[in-house]
Symmetry: C2
Subunit: 457 residues, 2 copies
Amino acid sequence: MTSTDLTPGDLSSALNREQAEAELFELLRIPSVSADPSHKEDLVRAAEFLRVKLESLGFTARVDETGGHPAVYAEHLKAPGKPTVLLYGHYDVQPEAPLEEWVTPPFEPTVRDGRIYARGSTDDKGQAYAHVRGVELLQTQGELPVNIKFLLEGEEEIGSPSIVPYLQAHREELQADVIVISDGSRFAADVPTITYGVRGLSYVEIHVQGANRDLHSGSYGGAAPNPINALCEIIARLKDDHGRVTIPGFYDGIEELTGEEREMWASLPQDDDAFAQSIGVSALPGEDGYSVLERLWGRPTLDVNGIWGGYQGEGSKTVIAAKAGAKVSMRLVPGQDPDRITRLIQEYVPTIAPAGVTVEVRALHGGQPIKFDTSSTYVKAADRALERVYGKPAVFARTGGSIPIVASFAEILKSPVLFVDMGLNEDAPHSPNESFALADYHNGILTSAYLLEELGK
Amino acid sequence: MTSTDLTPGDLSSALNREQAEAELFELLRIPSVSADPSHKEDLVRAAEFLRVKLESLGFTARVDETGGHPAVYAEHLKAPGKPTVLLYGHYDVQPEAPLEEWVTPPFEPTVRDGRIYARGSTDDKGQAYAHVRGVELLQTQGELPVNIKFLLEGEEEIGSPSIVPYLQAHREELQADVIVISDGSRFAADVPTITYGVRGLSYVEIHVQGANRDLHSGSYGGAAPNPINALCEIIARLKDDHGRVTIPGFYDGIEELTGEEREMWASLPQDDDAFAQSIGVSALPGEDGYSVLERLWGRPTLDVNGIWGGYQGEGSKTVIAAKAGAKVSMRLVPGQDPDRITRLIQEYVPTIAPAGVTVEVRALHGGQPIKFDTSSTYVKAADRALERVYGKPAVFARTGGSIPIVASFAEILKSPVLFVDMGLNEDAPHSPNESFALADYHNGILTSAYLLEELGK
């Protein structure tokens, strides 16, 4: 039979779940934390692991230097006249901190209640590897019905600093009719989701300097500038009582949500109380005048991601610190340019700094907000593939996350991008005890196989 | 000759500077950090060192268990009919952090430009040991002219938690006509100073809890409460734009400064610009309507001594932390009760916490503010002793620091306390590169000897 005769279930019977899990676990055991230079070699190991696997599937595969962590490129171009699909993912992971909160070690994958617990299990090793296994699954049915290219990078969690020059250098080689990315969350466990928008990001560090040394808070308290108090004032002034960011010009040019979008999202099975309960909070504060989903998907935010200063040890040290700092990130929506927003906060912070301290706002990284056309043939193919797996049509959602690479794809490769997310928010990406449901992993493999098939029709 | 014939200089010729320095250095090499449990044994070693030295001077000396770090008690009571002087000091030191800012190791005393650089050099090992050497110096002139008791504790830097029960248990034994404490700073290098007031202290930790786990700032930013932003808002709200603490009732009952005090302080050679330059800042912010000295000595303050939350490592982790915390201390003035102030902030913080987070304010420790009578015979004796060393009369100042023990002395032992400070603010106590001028150490030894002599007259 030919793959086009396939009906739902045909391929699921061909899944080799045990092997698929064993291989993913091997990848998850490699602590490829891109933010931590001490893990440099682990990123190389993870890249090598993927190259070897893709070669075993008949791909021409290599590990490319990028100046930073390496990128894995592989191609299988044996379907003349058929579309070319570029499958993008990343094999690097977030830092594991705080380590003490993990129930089982972050780099020793463990299955509990049908979930794989490990750093990177859902973000993004599990989802990226589902495509590798999806290709392998489809190969059990004969020749691949499309041309396939893999690009698996090692710097997504630090903002893909090397990917732009890489894309530019390999523009021709990376040409594709569509780029498929699986690096996010579906709306809910039983809801197949096509994501048509991502928020952008501006991530900065604020550094505040007071005196030229730590001071005794008794001898100097009342006259010496306190950089920690000053930093707190600055951060408090970045938002008003309505949850709006106060940086002048921050909201200029934003694409307001359409009535259609607001209706579509309002119709989704979203339970704010259950959402609040799932993270153990009594309220979901945010910008006035917007629903929770609208704030998560369609509105910009400002969050402090880390703060430090002074004495953090045991006991009570009576010191006025010389300096303090904070990591601050802003999620952006269509109409906001990350570079411009970064410049705006760099200009604004010094104007709200209290007397006696000096401030510096360092740009760490950024990403463009994106929205896609939901009527393309690729979106329709994805919709069919998901329906074959889940037995129901997909919902169209946006995501609050940021995937800076997407903007670069649009700009440099000029190819349309398709998000086929396999994870869930409750997978807790970036948190201790990150996990990925076994069912979602195997459905992801099926989704990948069906999608490649549908794209080949 | 008898010691009463002494004139300035007589004893200085009898100083054995080399030996005095060698012995202090040995004490400074012991990392007796009371806030850090891992240094427990070092505190015992420091106590032993002092006991052995005092025995060598003919004292009956012992190291007493206190439930916390031990206390050294020694007595030399061979001057019948003469007053009894209790010399109090502490052999514990502040934590050395941030270690990387020390030019030379904190526990390897090093002399540069006539200064001893080491943690504890001025606070308080150097000043406490000056009294030990002062006694030894006076002994070169014959029998001691007063009865002397030493109490050297090991918990001053953590708020002397064990000293109150200790004083109560040894009330009789510790009886004295006057208690002498040298644990602070003179007004300036060439200005002998008698300190007649200390600020009190209320030291708390604020803990803010948001979600039950760290969250991805993309997936949750805009709806999840952010405990770091919340903590910053809380801290910013603790002070108003006039530098006044906003806690309701905070200023109730404060003893306002007298016109006499404000005049006396205004007449001191205080150069605010030089003061700002000495700590490398462009402004000296504080409570409106008061001079720098008034703010430092006579007005309460609120300073954050440490803050933490979220990701503090390299790179840009996009996380919303589950919790954040800060150490906050308030310096208090006569009329403010530490327990009451602690209760007030514990009641106030929850009322200013943003929605969605839970807060807890933990009391760490406190100390009573104090003011002494400046017309006592003991103050006059100290004035004469200082004039013999410096050739000029002392100025009367207060200090911004807190010595909780002082209130306990007043309450439990009912003895007047005399502050004879030997250090300087530029010694940078509690900071990296803490130091103590060799000249101040040796003048301190002389001051101690002359003071004991004057008290014996």
